[in-house]
Amino acid sequence: MTTLVRPATDERVVPPARARKVPAPLRKKRRRHRLFVAALMAPWAIGFSVFFLYPLAATLWFSFTRYNLLEQPVFIGLRNYRYFFTQDPYSLQAVRNTLWLTIFVVPARIIFALLIAQLVIQIKRGGNVLRTVFYLPALAPPVAATLAFTYLFNPATGPVNQLLGKVGIGWQPLWFSDPALAKPTLLILSVWGLGDVMVILLATLLQVPNEQYEAAHLDGANAWQRFRYVTLPNIWPVLLFAAVTGVIAMLQFFTQAAVASAVAGGTAPVGGGLGERLGYPDNAMLTFPIWMYVKGFANFQLGYACAMAVMLFVVSMAFTVVLLRRSRVFLYGAEEA
């Protein structure tokens, strides 16, 4: 279904497998090719080592130490990990919150994005305008979008509760200020910004061969059967992609929760303010990355923050492996998979 071609192969510069004596001009050509590749890849290779491999290894090392940036790290074995699971009063709450967001936000975004994409596809005239409208919220900077939502869902003066009052619904929820509703309100915010998923699904739906639908139609398949047996198998790999990237995005969910928590709680989500009122209300919005940030950069317990980073690494790596194993077909084209 994908139109991507496999990586280009330049046969002339690839040495034959068992060539003993290589003529001098070819040898020169090969060396120039190697130099060319090295020059192109050098910046990335440096960046990969200095800004990725080294910090990855250092994170693992720091996670076994007590480290506060001023003094040298002191090896303390697994004590950071033990503290995380047995003593830290907020760590498990943070895990639960991030888990909640992952379980509910990821499917909600994908399902709504799929429904909207299906709808947009049916609209012949004005479909482009609709696509733009549904995409627009995904562009809004997260800080701005979250600020807007804390205003919209402000319990006392926000338009949402005022509209609820106007249509005669007596229910006036506290939204971001209610521990039970804070995360669902974040979910609404995330669903509003589903444009990125929708655009990808839209492109995929358009690639489903029309003949398959016609064939199913002639066989007397109803709308649900057409979706189940034609659409779904065709878009399945992209759904997997959206799910895995969605999960990894939720594992690092920081900005919206931090800003909503601080603004609804009445502090500035910068510097000290984040440490004071984090997770308002009642730690309902204290996500794993926020707690890691507070431990690392407000309390400067860097070793402990690294232990949390290692756990984050293990979980996100597991999801990455799932995706990479499944998507060889997409990355290289069908022939090489």
Partner: protein
Amino acid sequence: MTVHDLTIRRPVSRVRAGRRRKTLTFIAEHSVAIALALVFLAPFAFIVLTSVMTNDQALTPDLWPRTWRLDNYVKVFQDAPMFRYLANSLMYSVLATGFMLLSSIPAAYALARLRWRGRDLAFLGVLVMMMLPPQVTVVPLYVLWARWNLTGTLWPLILPNLFGDAFSIFLIRQFLLTIPEEYADAARADGCSELRVMWKIILPLAKPGIAAAALFMFFLTWNDYFGPLLYTSENADNWTLALGLATFRDLHRVQWNLTMAATLIVMLPVIILFFFAQKAFVQGVTLTGVKG
């Protein structure tokens, strides 16, 4: 027999029933789509309307501004150092995007269009780097930048882009894969060097992909909150718009009108840029997903 023949032979009444059902579906689909579109646009409408209200009115149930206070926008710039935030945001986004292009286009080219030992392994490295949350490596990186005395500035966020950005490399590579090799072969047959093939033949054809990567990078940095928060929290001189906006509410306790005006000011450049470059952008989003 074609589908067309089948429809002609249908009894007239069934054709009419089918047509009526089609009309009903048409109406249903369009009304749902329009209603949903209005819901998605509503937050923007509320932001705009509130941003031109008086503060007193912003706290009342009235949704339509009684007097249009356009000077709210002037006040935002007077009350907070918005120009400084804007300059910092622009510096971050423009330099990061420029640096990213310098370092990532070559790497993407080598990964997509040249054959060399270790290429698949290097690409795997790009993928893993792209997928892992930045928080995984953030502590040692912070220590590194603190040692180089660059914490408190935006440089820790800008400089790494000189050494390749994983997502951009991936995106540009995916686009480069779609360009047929015949163009390059023709140029080689004419005696072009590999450098010339890249520079004169392939990269000009890759402009849409490169544009999409640049746009993504600009938006990512413009919207970034975690990075500037981490490195510049203690130094308000180097705050970006995203960071300044996050504190704005605190400066003006209950002044929702000004807060919404500031919110709109931060949103606007991104939205304007999007409308100018919509085609490249949507193409880019599609490219990231279609590969699965």
